[in-house]
Amino acid sequence: MSILGLSILSLARFQFAMTTVFHFFFVPFSIGLGFVVAIMETNYVIQKKDIYKKMTQFWGKIFLLSFAVGVVTGIIQEFQFGMNWSQYSRFMGDIFGAPLAIEALAAFFLESTFIGLWMFTWDRFKPVWHCLFIWLTSIGSMLSAVWILAANSFMQDPVGYALKTVNGNTKAVMVSFADVVKNPELWLELPHVLFGAFLTAAFVIAGSSAWRILKGKNIEFWRKSIKISLIVGLVAAIGVTAVGDKQTQYIIKNQPMKFAATEGLYKTTGDHASWAIVEGMDNKDHKVTWSIEIPYVLSMLSYHKPSGAVTGANPLNKQLHKQYDKKFGKNMNYFVPMHTLFYSFRIMAVSAGVFALLAILGLYWNRKKSDQIVRYRWFLYILGLSLWLPFIANTAGWFVTELGRYPWVVYGLLTIADAVSPHVTVGSLLFSNIIYFLLFAGMGAVMIVLSHRVLVAGPDADLQSGYGVNDEDKQDTDESVDPYAKGAFNHE
C-alpha cells in the first residue's frame, strides 16, 4: 500500500532521519552549553568577579531555551521506536530497552531536577552549591549520552547477545551487560559525540560574540566569552580529530563497507592508496567516473603508513552476499549511499580542521594585551558565520554513522525493512511526518528568534529567567523573603 509512491518503510525512515537530526541540533548544543556555562559559573565561584556571573546567566538563558527543545524532541525519539519500529522493538527490547531505561533513571531525573533547582535558586544558595547544581545538570546530560550511545553502539556492532527463537519469532537477548557496556564502539562514539557537543557550544558562543563585537558594545564581555569558548573549542577540535582517527581504524575492520563509502571506493586500491578530495560516482554501474586525488594519503589515514590497500565496495558487496545470503536471501543490496557518505565525511573532517584553525587564530588575536580581534573585522565575520557549521558537521557525522549501516538496523542481525511496524498505515505516517515537520519548523524559528533577541539585548539586559517573573514581581522581591518571588536570574 502506498500514497504518492510512498511506502511505510520510506516514510518511517524519513521520519527517523528528520526527528533525529532536529533533536540532535539541540542535544549537543545543550550538552556543550551546559558544560561551558558550568565552567563559567565555576570561574565565578573561584574568582568572585561579577562578569563571570553575568556570563553564566547570559549564556545560561540560551542554554535553558535549547534544553527545553531538546527535552521535548527527545520524547519523540523514545516513543518512535514503539510507534514506527515495532518489529525492531520486539527484536531488540531485551537489549535496547535496558540502556534506554537506565538513561531515564540515571540521567533524565538528575538533569531535570537540578536544572529546576539551578533556574530558581540563584539567591537562595551559596555560590558553591548553586554551581554544583549546574554541574549535576551537565553530568546528567553527559550520562544520557553514555546510555543512548551504548544502545546505538549495539546497533552498529552487536556484542554480548544471543539469538533466541520463541514461537517462530527470533529476538536478540542480552547475555552480558558488561560486554554491552564495554563495547569498543561505545568508547569511540561517546568521546566523539561529547567533543562534538563541546565544539557546538564553543562555536555558537564564539560566533555569536563575534557578531556582537562587530556591533561594538560590551566588548570586554564578548571577548571573555570568546576566550573561554575557544579554549574549549580548541581542545574539542583536537579531541574530535584524534578520536575520529581511532574510529577510522575501527570501522575499516568492523564496517568496511561504511569505510569504502566514506572514501568513495568501488574498486580495491593499490598498495599505495591515494585519497580523493572530490570525485564523481556512477552509483548504477558501481564505479568512480572522475576524481582528484592526493597520493599515499588514504594509506596514511587508514594505516598510518604510506602503504596498505583499502578494499572497495564492489568486492565487499560480493563478500557480504557470500556471508549473509543464506540468512537474508540473494536480493539484498549491500551498497550504502556512497555519495552521501563520501561528502558527509568530507564536510565533517574539513569542519574539524576549520574549527581548530579558527580557535588558534581567535585565541591568539584575542590575547589580553592585543586588540587585534576587534580590528580584524573580516575574522569576526568568518567566526560569526562559523556558528552554523557545528550543526552541519554533527548532522554529517550521523549520516555517516547511520546511513553507513545500511541495509541493517542492527548490523548483521536485522534489516531496516524487517524492523518497521507492519500495520501502521501510510496515511498516519504521512500525517505524523507533516505534523512533526510543522512543529520543528515552528520551534526552530522560535528558537532562532529568541536566541537572537537575547543576544541583541546583551548582557546588561535584565537577565532574569525562571518563568513568570514580571516587573511587579521584581518590586515585590525587594522586601519579600519569598523564594518564588525572585526568578532564577533576578538577583540584583
Binding site: A101, L105, F177, G466
Partner: protein, 332 residues
C-alpha cells in the same frame, strides 16, 4: 509467570501511578492557567508553582516507557504502534506544553504571551485526556492479531468508554491541580481554586458512577475479578469523597493527598484488571500475556538491581527539591 516478571509488571504500574500523581497536578495547574487565573500576575504565580518540578515529573512517563521497552518489549511494541495516532497527539501535546513554559516567558507582546499560555492550557488538558483514552481502550480490549499487532478501527479507539475514561482522568488531574494551587498559593487565587473544587467534586462523583457502569459493560473486570474491582472502585470513590470533604473543611493537605491518590488508584484498577495480561485482545487467544511478553530473566534481573541502586537517590533528591520550594507563592 516468574516472580521477576510479576515484579516488573508491578513496577511499570507503579511508575505510571507516580507519573499520574506528580504530573497530574502540574497538568491541572497548566489547565488552571486560563481557567483559574484572572490576570498576568496570577498566571505567573501558577506557572511558577510548577516551574521547578514539571520536567522532573514528566521524566516518570519517559521512565515508564523506557522500563516497558526494557522489560516487556512486546507490550511496548504493540501498545505504541497500536495506538499510533493517539500517541502522536500525546507527543504533540507534550511538545507544545514543554516549550510553552520557556517560550511564554520570553514573549514581548501580549498576543504571543497569551498564545503560549493557551498552548499550555490546551496541551495540559489534551495529554491526560488522551492518556486516559489509551489506557481505557487498552483494558477494554482491541482487535489484535496473532503477531500482537493492533488492527483497530475508529470506534475501537474512540467510544463511550474511552471518552468517559479520558474525561475522568483529565478531571481528576484538574481537581488535583486545584488542590495543589490551594496548597501553594494564597489570596484570591486560592479562594477560587477552592470554590471550583466545591463545584467540581459532585460532578466527579457522577462521573465515577458512570465510569463504574462502563467498566462493567465494556471490560471483563467484574466477571474475572469482582472483589478486587469492587474494592478498588470503592477506594476511588472514598478517596474522592474524602478530598471533597477536605475541600469543604479547608484541610488542604488532606485534599491534596487523597484527591491525588485517586489517580494512582485508577492506575491500580486498570493494572489489576489487566493482570495477567498486558494487552487485552477481543479474541482472548491473542491477548498478550505477562509471561510471554517479557524480556529474558537476565535483563529483568539486571534492571531490578539497577533500579534498586538508582531509584532511592532519585527519590531523595526529588523530595529534597520539593522541600526547597515548599513555600507559598503570592500573586500581586
Amino acid at each position: 509467570m516468574s516472580s521477576l516478571q510479576f515484579v516488573w509488571f508491578l513496577l511499570i504500574g507503579l511508575l505510571f501511578a507516580i507519573f499520574f500523581f506528580l504530573e497530574g497536578f502540574d497538568f491541572g495547574v497548566g489547565m488552571s492557567v486560563n481557567t483559574l487565573a484572572n490576570n498576568e500576575s496570577e498566571r505567573n504565580a501558577l506557572v511558577r508553582s510548577i516551574g521547578p518540578h514539571w520536567d522532573g515529573n514528566e521524566v516518570y512517563l519517559i521512565t515508564a516507557g523506557g522500563a516497558m521497552f526494557a522489560s516487556f518489549g512486546a507490550w511496548y511494541a504493540s501498545l505504541f504502534s497500536g495506538f499510533y495516532v493517539m500517541f502522536l497527539l500525546v507527543l504533540v501535546a507534550l511538545i507544545m506544553r514543554g516549550v510553552s513554559f520557556e517560550f511564554r516567558n520570553e514573549m514581548r507582546t501580549d498576543f504571543w504571551r497569551r498564545f503560549w499560555e493557551w498552548s499550555l492550557t490546551i496541551s495540559s488538558l489534551a495529554a491526560p485526556f488522551l492518556l486516559g483514552m489509551i489506557f481505557t481502550d487498552m483494558v477494554k480490549g482491541m482487535p489484535i492479531d496473532a503477531q500482537g499487532d493492533v488492527i483497530g478501527h475508529f470506534t475501537d479507539y474512540v467510544n463511550w468508554f474511552s471518552i468517559v475514561g479520558g474525561v475522568a482522568v483529565a478531571l481528576l488531574c484538574y481537581l488535583h491541580g486545584l488542590n495543589f494551587v490551594r496548597l501553594k498559593t494564597e489570596g484570591t487565587l486560592r479562594e477560587r481554586a477552592s470554590a471550583w473544587g466545591k463545584v467540581l467534586y459532585p460532578v466527579l462523583f457522577a462521573g465515577e458512577v458512570v465510569f463504574a457502569i462502563l467498566v462493567y459493560v465494556y471490560t471483563d473486570f467484574f466477571a474475572k475479578k469482582p472483589i478486587s474491582t469492587l474494592l478498588i472502585l470503592a477506594a476511588i470513590v472514598l478517596l474522592s469523597v474524602l478530598a471533597y470533604v477536605a475541600t469543604l473543611k479547608d484541610w488542604e493537605v488532606t485534599s491534596f493527598i487523597s484527591g491525588g491518590l485517586t489517580l494512582p488508584a485508577v492506575v491500580m484498577l486498570l493494572f489489576v484488571g489487566l493482570f495477567p495480561r498486558v494487552m487485552v485482545a477481543n479474541n482472548a487467544a491473542n491477548s498478550i500475556l505477562i509471561k510471554n511478553a517479557s524480556s529474558s530473566a537476565y535483563t529483568l534481573n539486571l534492571m531490578t538491581w539497577i533500579a534498586l541502586c538508582i531509584l532511592p537517590f532519585v527519590l531523595a533528591y526529588q523530595i529534597w527539591s520539593y522541600w526547597v520550594f515548599y513555600k507559598r507563592i503570592k500573586a500581586n
